[in-house]
Amino acid sequence: MGMQRISVNVNGADVEARVEPRLLLSDFIRHDAGLTGTHVGCEHGVCGACTVEVDGAPARSCLMFAVQVEGAVIRTVEGLTASAGPEGWSVLQQSLHEHHGLQCGFCTPGILMSLQPLLTAEEDPDETQIREALAGNLCRCTGYENIVNAVMAALAQVRSSRAA
Protein backbone atom coordinates (compact mmCIF):
# COMPACT_ATOMS: atom_id res chain seq x y z
CA MET A 1 0.00 0.00 0.00
CA GLY A 2 1.48 3.34 -0.93
CA MET A 3 0.57 6.90 -0.12
CA GLN A 4 -2.77 7.76 1.44
CA ARG A 5 -4.66 10.99 1.01
CA ILE A 6 -5.69 12.74 4.22
CA SER A 7 -7.60 15.87 5.04
CA VAL A 8 -7.28 17.31 8.52
CA ASN A 9 -8.22 20.57 10.16
CA VAL A 10 -5.19 22.23 11.74
CA ASN A 11 -5.78 25.45 13.69
CA GLY A 12 -8.98 26.08 11.74
CA ALA A 13 -7.55 25.52 8.27
CA ASP A 14 -8.00 22.35 6.24
CA VAL A 15 -4.74 20.71 5.26
CA GLU A 16 -4.70 18.06 2.56
CA ALA A 17 -1.73 15.88 1.85
CA ARG A 18 -0.63 12.55 0.49
CA VAL A 19 1.27 10.73 3.20
CA GLU A 20 3.03 7.46 3.80
CA PRO A 21 1.27 5.49 6.57
CA ARG A 22 4.44 5.58 8.66
CA LEU A 23 4.56 9.40 8.74
CA LEU A 24 4.29 10.54 12.36
CA LEU A 25 1.74 13.23 13.13
CA SER A 26 4.58 15.35 14.55
CA ASP A 27 6.43 15.24 11.23
CA PHE A 28 3.22 15.90 9.31
CA ILE A 29 2.59 19.02 11.38
CA ARG A 30 6.13 20.31 10.92
CA HIS A 31 6.86 19.35 7.33
CA ASP A 32 3.50 19.09 5.57
CA ALA A 33 1.51 21.70 7.47
CA GLY A 34 4.65 23.82 7.87
CA LEU A 35 3.97 24.56 11.54
CA THR A 36 7.34 24.29 13.25
CA GLY A 37 6.12 25.48 16.64
CA THR A 38 5.50 21.83 17.56
CA HIS A 39 8.87 20.50 18.66
CA VAL A 40 10.17 16.96 18.40
CA GLY A 41 12.24 15.72 21.30
CA CYS A 42 12.42 12.04 22.20
CA GLU A 43 10.02 10.59 19.61
CA HIS A 44 8.86 7.88 21.98
CA GLY A 45 6.32 9.63 24.16
CA VAL A 46 8.46 10.56 27.14
CA CYS A 47 9.43 14.23 26.82
CA GLY A 48 6.11 15.83 25.90
CA ALA A 49 7.62 18.48 23.58
CA CYS A 50 5.39 17.39 20.66
CA THR A 51 2.10 17.60 22.59
CA VAL A 52 -0.81 18.99 20.55
CA GLU A 53 -4.58 18.88 20.91
CA VAL A 54 -6.32 16.14 18.94
CA ASP A 55 -10.10 16.62 18.93
CA GLY A 56 -9.78 18.75 22.04
CA ALA A 57 -7.59 16.46 24.17
CA PRO A 58 -3.83 16.83 24.59
CA ALA A 59 -1.91 13.99 22.94
CA ARG A 60 1.63 13.13 21.90
CA SER A 61 1.93 13.82 18.19
CA CYS A 62 4.98 11.51 17.99
CA LEU A 63 2.79 8.57 19.07
CA MET A 64 0.23 8.97 16.31
CA PHE A 65 0.40 8.64 12.56
CA ALA A 66 -0.83 11.31 10.21
CA VAL A 67 -3.16 8.79 8.52
CA GLN A 68 -4.91 8.34 11.87
CA VAL A 69 -6.05 11.97 12.09
CA GLU A 70 -7.97 11.96 8.81
CA GLY A 71 -11.04 14.05 9.57
CA ALA A 72 -9.80 15.16 13.00
CA VAL A 73 -9.35 18.64 14.43
CA ILE A 74 -5.81 19.48 15.53
CA ARG A 75 -4.66 22.50 17.46
CA THR A 76 -0.97 23.31 17.75
CA VAL A 77 0.81 26.03 19.71
CA GLU A 78 0.30 28.38 16.75
CA GLY A 79 -3.45 28.00 17.31
CA LEU A 80 -3.24 29.53 20.79
CA THR A 81 -2.80 33.02 19.46
CA ALA A 82 -6.35 32.91 18.13
CA SER A 83 -7.33 33.93 21.68
CA ALA A 84 -4.56 36.49 21.69
CA GLY A 85 -4.01 39.36 24.12
CA PRO A 86 -2.30 42.68 23.37
CA GLU A 87 1.08 41.09 22.60
CA GLY A 88 -0.53 38.53 20.33
CA TRP A 89 -0.20 35.89 23.04
CA SER A 90 -2.70 33.83 24.98
CA VAL A 91 -3.16 34.43 28.71
CA LEU A 92 -0.93 31.44 29.49
CA GLN A 93 1.78 32.48 27.04
CA GLN A 94 1.82 36.00 28.46
CA SER A 95 2.00 34.60 31.98
CA LEU A 96 4.92 32.28 31.16
CA HIS A 97 6.70 35.30 29.71
CA GLU A 98 6.06 37.44 32.78
CA HIS A 99 7.00 34.75 35.32
CA HIS A 100 10.15 33.58 33.59
CA GLY A 101 8.47 30.24 32.85
CA LEU A 102 10.82 29.42 29.98
CA GLN A 103 14.47 29.70 29.16
CA CYS A 104 15.58 27.89 26.00
CA GLY A 105 11.95 27.40 25.00
CA PHE A 106 12.30 23.96 23.45
CA CYS A 107 9.76 22.32 25.75
CA THR A 108 7.44 25.36 25.90
CA PRO A 109 5.03 24.52 23.03
CA GLY A 110 4.34 21.10 24.53
CA ILE A 111 3.91 22.59 27.98
CA LEU A 112 1.46 25.20 26.67
CA MET A 113 -0.60 22.54 24.89
CA SER A 114 -0.61 20.32 27.99
CA LEU A 115 -1.60 23.09 30.39
CA GLN A 116 -4.05 25.01 28.20
CA PRO A 117 -6.95 22.62 29.01
CA LEU A 118 -6.58 23.56 32.70
CA LEU A 119 -7.51 27.12 31.83
CA THR A 120 -10.57 26.20 29.84
CA ALA A 121 -11.90 23.45 32.14
CA GLU A 122 -14.89 24.19 34.33
CA GLU A 123 -13.22 23.42 37.63
CA ASP A 124 -10.44 25.43 39.30
CA PRO A 125 -7.35 23.24 39.54
CA ASP A 126 -5.06 23.54 42.57
CA GLU A 127 -1.27 23.39 42.54
CA THR A 128 -1.25 19.58 42.82
CA GLN A 129 -3.42 19.28 39.73
CA ILE A 130 -1.20 21.73 37.85
CA ARG A 131 1.87 19.67 38.74
CA GLU A 132 0.05 16.49 37.69
CA ALA A 133 -0.81 18.05 34.33
CA LEU A 134 2.80 19.20 33.94
CA ALA A 135 4.37 15.87 34.95
CA GLY A 136 4.40 14.55 31.40
CA ASN A 137 6.56 17.39 30.07
CA LEU A 138 10.29 17.49 30.60
CA CYS A 139 12.01 20.85 30.99
CA ARG A 140 15.75 20.95 31.58
CA CYS A 141 16.03 24.69 32.19
CA THR A 142 13.45 26.10 34.55
CA GLY A 143 13.15 23.62 37.40
CA TYR A 144 9.36 23.91 36.85
CA GLU A 145 8.73 26.31 39.76
CA ASN A 146 8.26 29.34 37.56
CA ILE A 147 6.05 27.38 35.19
CA VAL A 148 3.76 26.47 38.09
CA ASN A 149 3.80 30.10 39.24
CA ALA A 150 2.88 31.22 35.73
CA VAL A 151 -0.08 28.83 35.54
CA MET A 152 -1.32 29.91 38.97
CA ALA A 153 -1.15 33.54 37.86
CA ALA A 154 -2.90 32.77 34.58
CA LEU A 155 -5.64 30.91 36.44
CA ALA A 156 -6.12 33.83 38.82
CA GLN A 157 -6.50 36.10 35.80
CA VAL A 158 -9.02 33.79 34.15
CA ARG A 159 -10.98 33.57 37.41
CA SER A 160 -11.15 37.33 37.87
CA SER A 161 -12.24 37.84 34.27
CA ARG A 162 -14.93 35.17 34.78
CA ALA A 163 -16.13 37.02 37.90
CA ALA A 164 -16.15 40.38 36.11
Binding site: P58, R60, L63, Q68, G136
Partner: protein, 290 residues
Protein backbone atom coordinates in the same frame (compact mmCIF):
# COMPACT_ATOMS: atom_id res chain seq x y z
CA UNK B 1 13.63 6.99 15.26
CA UNK B 2 11.18 6.72 12.36
CA UNK B 3 9.14 3.54 11.95
CA UNK B 4 9.78 1.12 9.11
CA UNK B 5 7.21 1.10 6.31
CA UNK B 6 3.93 -0.68 6.87
CA UNK B 7 0.56 -0.95 5.23
CA UNK B 8 -2.34 0.69 7.02
CA UNK B 9 -5.99 -0.28 7.19
CA UNK B 10 -8.61 1.64 9.10
CA UNK B 11 -11.51 -0.68 9.87
CA UNK B 12 -15.10 0.31 10.64
CA UNK B 13 -16.54 -2.81 12.25
CA UNK B 14 -15.33 -5.65 14.44
CA UNK B 15 -16.12 -8.08 11.61
CA UNK B 16 -13.94 -6.08 9.25
CA UNK B 17 -11.11 -6.12 11.82
CA UNK B 18 -11.41 -9.89 12.31
CA UNK B 19 -11.41 -10.54 8.57
CA UNK B 20 -8.36 -8.30 8.15
CA UNK B 21 -6.57 -10.16 10.97
CA UNK B 22 -7.49 -13.49 9.42
CA UNK B 23 -6.67 -12.65 5.81
CA UNK B 24 -3.79 -10.25 6.41
CA UNK B 25 -0.09 -11.06 6.64
CA UNK B 26 1.05 -13.09 9.64
CA UNK B 27 2.73 -10.09 11.25
CA UNK B 28 -0.33 -7.84 11.20
CA UNK B 29 -0.78 -5.75 14.30
CA UNK B 30 -3.81 -4.05 15.82
CA UNK B 31 -3.33 -0.40 16.70
CA UNK B 32 -5.70 1.19 19.23
CA UNK B 33 -4.32 4.06 21.34
CA UNK B 34 -0.82 3.24 20.12
CA UNK B 35 0.81 4.59 23.27
CA UNK B 36 2.88 1.43 23.77
CA UNK B 37 2.98 0.23 20.17
CA UNK B 38 4.19 3.41 18.46
CA UNK B 39 7.32 3.73 20.65
CA UNK B 40 8.16 0.14 19.67
CA UNK B 41 7.63 1.05 16.00
CA UNK B 42 9.66 4.24 16.31
CA UNK B 43 12.55 2.26 17.80
CA UNK B 44 12.00 -0.41 15.12
CA UNK B 45 11.69 -3.01 17.86
CA UNK B 46 8.53 -4.02 16.01
CA UNK B 47 8.14 -3.91 12.22
CA UNK B 48 4.67 -5.23 11.38
CA UNK B 49 3.69 -5.52 7.73
CA UNK B 50 0.16 -4.24 8.35
CA UNK B 51 -1.36 -2.00 11.00
CA UNK B 52 -5.09 -2.50 11.51
CA UNK B 53 -6.47 0.66 13.10
CA UNK B 54 -9.51 -0.02 15.33
CA UNK B 55 -10.00 3.54 16.58
CA UNK B 56 -13.28 3.85 14.66
CA UNK B 57 -14.85 0.82 16.40
CA UNK B 58 -17.05 2.88 18.72
CA UNK B 59 -18.95 -0.33 19.56
CA UNK B 60 -15.84 -1.31 21.60
CA UNK B 61 -15.85 1.87 23.64
CA UNK B 62 -18.17 1.48 26.64
CA UNK B 63 -18.24 1.14 30.40
CA UNK B 64 -21.39 -0.52 31.67
CA UNK B 65 -22.81 -2.55 34.50
CA UNK B 66 -24.49 -5.77 33.38
CA UNK B 67 -26.13 -7.96 36.03
CA UNK B 68 -23.96 -6.37 38.71
CA UNK B 69 -20.70 -7.05 36.86
CA UNK B 70 -18.57 -4.50 35.05
CA UNK B 71 -18.03 -4.66 31.32
CA UNK B 72 -15.47 -2.45 29.65
CA UNK B 73 -15.02 -2.29 25.90
CA UNK B 74 -11.44 -2.83 24.80
CA UNK B 75 -11.24 0.56 23.07
CA UNK B 76 -12.22 2.48 26.22
CA UNK B 77 -9.62 5.19 26.86
CA UNK B 78 -7.75 5.42 30.16
CA UNK B 79 -9.12 8.94 30.56
CA UNK B 80 -12.70 7.61 30.22
CA UNK B 81 -12.11 5.00 32.95
CA UNK B 82 -10.58 7.70 35.10
CA UNK B 83 -13.78 9.77 34.94
CA UNK B 84 -16.35 6.96 34.86
CA UNK B 85 -18.94 7.14 37.65
CA UNK B 86 -19.71 3.43 37.18
CA UNK B 87 -16.06 2.55 37.82
CA UNK B 88 -15.75 5.00 40.71
CA UNK B 89 -18.84 3.68 42.48
CA UNK B 90 -18.36 -0.05 41.97
CA UNK B 91 -14.69 -0.78 41.24
CA UNK B 92 -12.69 2.13 42.64
CA UNK B 93 -9.47 0.06 42.57
CA UNK B 94 -9.50 0.35 38.80
CA UNK B 95 -9.79 4.10 38.99
CA UNK B 96 -6.98 4.35 41.52
CA UNK B 97 -4.75 2.20 39.30
CA UNK B 98 -5.48 3.99 36.02
CA UNK B 99 -4.37 7.30 37.49
CA UNK B 100 -0.88 5.81 37.82
CA UNK B 101 -0.75 5.08 34.10
CA UNK B 102 1.72 7.53 32.54
CA UNK B 103 0.43 11.09 32.03
CA UNK B 104 -2.84 12.79 31.01
CA UNK B 105 -1.60 13.20 27.41
CA UNK B 106 -1.04 9.42 27.26
CA UNK B 107 -4.27 8.50 29.04
CA UNK B 108 -6.28 10.56 26.55
CA UNK B 109 -5.29 8.04 23.84
CA UNK B 110 -4.30 4.82 25.65
CA UNK B 111 -6.93 2.09 25.95
CA UNK B 112 -7.66 -0.63 28.51
CA UNK B 113 -7.54 -3.26 25.77
CA UNK B 114 -4.13 -2.00 24.72
CA UNK B 115 -2.76 -2.18 28.27
CA UNK B 116 -4.05 -5.74 28.63
CA UNK B 117 -3.00 -7.02 25.19
CA UNK B 118 0.43 -5.34 25.38
CA UNK B 119 0.97 -7.05 28.79
CA UNK B 120 3.94 -4.98 29.89
CA UNK B 121 5.16 -6.46 33.15
CA UNK B 122 5.24 -2.99 34.73
CA UNK B 123 1.70 -2.03 33.67
CA UNK B 124 -0.83 -1.17 36.37
CA UNK B 125 -4.13 -2.20 34.78
CA UNK B 126 -3.30 -5.92 34.35
CA UNK B 127 -2.33 -6.04 38.04
CA UNK B 128 -5.51 -4.28 39.14
CA UNK B 129 -7.52 -6.66 36.93
CA UNK B 130 -5.75 -9.63 38.54
CA UNK B 131 -6.79 -8.34 41.96
CA UNK B 132 -10.35 -8.03 40.64
CA UNK B 133 -10.42 -11.55 39.09
CA UNK B 134 -11.19 -10.15 35.66
CA UNK B 135 -11.68 -12.15 32.51
CA UNK B 136 -11.08 -11.13 28.92
CA UNK B 137 -13.37 -11.67 25.96
CA UNK B 138 -11.79 -12.21 22.57
CA UNK B 139 -13.23 -12.64 19.11
CA UNK B 140 -11.93 -14.13 15.89
CA UNK B 141 -13.53 -15.21 12.62
CA UNK B 142 -14.06 -18.65 14.18
CA UNK B 143 -15.80 -17.48 17.34
CA UNK B 144 -15.39 -15.98 20.78
CA UNK B 145 -13.46 -16.96 23.91
CA UNK B 146 -13.58 -15.90 27.56
CA UNK B 147 -10.14 -16.14 29.15
CA UNK B 148 -9.61 -15.71 32.93
CA UNK B 149 -6.71 -13.36 33.73
CA UNK B 150 -4.65 -16.27 35.13
CA UNK B 151 -4.65 -18.00 31.75
CA UNK B 152 -4.21 -14.80 29.77
CA UNK B 153 -0.87 -13.35 30.89
CA UNK B 154 1.86 -15.80 29.84
CA UNK B 155 4.99 -13.69 30.08
CA UNK B 156 6.32 -10.18 29.50
CA UNK B 157 4.43 -8.84 26.46
CA UNK B 158 3.10 -12.34 25.85
CA UNK B 159 -0.56 -13.28 26.18
CA UNK B 160 -2.89 -16.12 25.31
CA UNK B 161 -4.24 -14.13 22.34
CA UNK B 162 -3.97 -16.30 19.24
CA UNK B 163 -3.10 -14.90 15.82
CA UNK B 164 -6.37 -13.64 14.36
CA UNK B 165 -7.88 -12.93 17.77
CA UNK B 166 -9.00 -9.49 18.89
CA UNK B 167 -9.49 -8.53 22.53
CA UNK B 168 -12.96 -6.97 22.66
CA UNK B 169 -14.01 -6.72 26.29
CA UNK B 170 -12.86 -6.83 29.90
CA UNK B 171 -15.26 -8.27 32.48
CA UNK B 172 -14.95 -7.70 36.20
CA UNK B 173 -17.13 -9.51 38.75
CA UNK B 174 -19.35 -7.70 41.22
CA UNK B 175 -17.76 -6.54 44.48
CA UNK B 176 -19.48 -6.06 47.82
CA UNK B 177 -20.50 -2.45 48.24
CA UNK B 178 -18.58 -2.26 51.53
CA UNK B 179 -15.30 -3.67 50.18
CA UNK B 180 -11.95 -2.01 50.82
CA UNK B 181 -9.42 -1.41 48.06
CA UNK B 182 -6.01 0.13 47.50
CA UNK B 183 -3.49 0.38 44.70
CA UNK B 184 -0.04 1.45 45.89
CA UNK B 185 3.10 1.67 43.80
CA UNK B 186 6.58 3.10 43.85
CA UNK B 187 7.99 4.99 40.88
CA UNK B 188 11.15 7.04 40.59
CA UNK B 189 9.22 9.93 39.03
CA UNK B 190 5.51 10.68 38.66
CA UNK B 191 4.14 8.71 35.69
CA UNK B 192 7.15 6.41 35.29
CA UNK B 193 6.89 2.66 35.09
CA UNK B 194 6.56 1.36 38.64
CA UNK B 195 9.38 -0.57 40.28
CA UNK B 196 6.91 -2.30 42.58
CA UNK B 197 3.17 -2.14 43.11
CA UNK B 198 0.27 -3.88 44.78
CA UNK B 199 -3.48 -3.96 44.25
CA UNK B 200 -5.60 -5.16 47.17
CA UNK B 201 -9.33 -5.83 47.45
CA UNK B 202 -10.83 -7.18 50.67
CA UNK B 203 -14.04 -7.79 52.60
CA UNK B 204 -14.46 -7.86 56.36
CA UNK B 205 -17.07 -9.66 58.49
CA UNK B 206 -19.06 -7.89 61.17
CA UNK B 207 -16.30 -8.74 63.68
CA UNK B 208 -13.79 -7.10 61.28
CA UNK B 209 -12.19 -10.40 60.36
CA UNK B 210 -11.09 -10.65 56.75
CA UNK B 211 -13.56 -12.82 54.82
CA UNK B 212 -12.15 -12.35 51.32
CA UNK B 213 -8.95 -10.87 50.02
CA UNK B 214 -6.93 -10.59 46.86
CA UNK B 215 -3.40 -9.22 46.76
CA UNK B 216 -2.00 -8.76 43.25
CA UNK B 217 1.62 -7.80 42.70
CA UNK B 218 3.41 -5.64 40.14
CA UNK B 219 7.14 -6.24 39.83
CA UNK B 220 7.18 -9.63 41.55
CA UNK B 221 7.17 -11.65 38.33
CA UNK B 222 7.12 -11.08 34.54
CA UNK B 223 3.30 -11.18 34.71
CA UNK B 224 0.75 -10.04 37.28
CA UNK B 225 0.65 -12.57 40.14
CA UNK B 226 -1.38 -13.04 43.27
CA UNK B 227 0.39 -13.28 46.62
CA UNK B 228 -1.44 -16.40 47.77
CA UNK B 229 0.68 -16.89 50.92
CA UNK B 230 -0.12 -13.35 51.99
CA UNK B 231 -3.82 -13.84 51.18
CA UNK B 232 -3.92 -17.02 53.30
CA UNK B 233 -2.17 -15.22 56.14
CA UNK B 234 -4.85 -12.52 56.20
CA UNK B 235 -7.95 -14.62 55.57
CA UNK B 236 -9.95 -15.05 58.78
CA UNK B 237 -7.76 -12.63 60.70
CA UNK B 238 -8.25 -9.13 62.04
CA UNK B 239 -5.86 -7.00 60.00
CA UNK B 240 -3.51 -5.37 62.46
CA UNK B 241 -0.25 -3.58 61.63
CA UNK B 242 1.66 -6.71 62.67
CA UNK B 243 -0.51 -9.03 60.60
CA UNK B 244 -0.19 -6.80 57.53
CA UNK B 245 3.58 -6.61 57.98
CA UNK B 246 3.82 -10.41 58.22
CA UNK B 247 1.69 -10.90 55.10
CA UNK B 248 3.73 -8.29 53.20
CA UNK B 249 6.94 -10.07 54.13
CA UNK B 250 5.49 -13.34 52.83
CA UNK B 251 4.45 -11.68 49.57
CA UNK B 252 7.90 -10.17 49.07
CA UNK B 253 9.69 -13.43 49.88
CA UNK B 254 7.49 -15.45 47.54
CA UNK B 255 7.95 -12.93 44.72
CA UNK B 256 10.83 -13.18 42.28
CA UNK B 257 11.55 -9.59 41.29
CA UNK B 258 14.40 -8.93 38.90
CA UNK B 259 17.07 -6.32 39.46
CA UNK B 260 17.61 -3.56 36.94
CA UNK B 261 19.58 -0.36 36.60
CA UNK B 262 17.34 1.23 39.24
CA UNK B 263 18.13 -1.29 41.95
CA UNK B 264 19.15 -4.76 43.00
CA UNK B 265 16.85 -7.72 43.51
CA UNK B 266 16.99 -7.08 47.26
CA UNK B 267 15.94 -3.45 46.74
CA UNK B 268 13.00 -4.45 44.55
CA UNK B 269 11.98 -7.07 47.11
CA UNK B 270 12.04 -4.59 49.95
CA UNK B 271 9.96 -2.16 47.85
CA UNK B 272 7.43 -4.94 47.26
CA UNK B 273 7.16 -5.53 50.97
CA UNK B 274 6.52 -1.83 51.60
CA UNK B 275 3.85 -1.36 48.90
CA UNK B 276 2.03 -4.57 49.86
CA UNK B 277 1.92 -3.60 53.54
CA UNK B 278 0.67 -0.12 52.72
CA UNK B 279 -1.96 -1.43 50.29
CA UNK B 280 -3.31 -3.98 52.81
CA UNK B 281 -3.58 -1.40 55.58
CA UNK B 282 -5.13 1.22 53.30
CA UNK B 283 -7.69 -1.24 51.94
CA UNK B 284 -8.54 -2.38 55.48
CA UNK B 285 -9.17 1.21 56.58
CA UNK B 286 -11.40 1.84 53.59
CA UNK B 287 -13.88 -0.95 54.34
CA UNK B 288 -17.19 0.65 55.14
CA UNK B 289 -18.83 -0.53 58.37
CA UNK B 290 -19.58 -4.19 57.65
Amino acid sequence: MKPASFDYLRVHSVEEALTALHDGPEDSKIIAGGQSLVPLLNFRLAEPALLIDINDLHELSFVRRVGGALRIGALTRHSTLEKSAVVRDGWPLLQEAVRFVAHPQIRSRGTIGGSVAHADSAAELPVALAALDAEFVTRSVSGSRRIPWRDFFLGPMTTALEPGELLVEVRVPLLRKSHGHAFVEHTRRNGDFALAGAGVVLDLNSDRRCSRISVALLGAAPTPVRATDAEDCLLGAVITEERAARAAKMAAEAGSPSGDLHGSVAYHRSLLEVVVRRAILAANLRVQEP
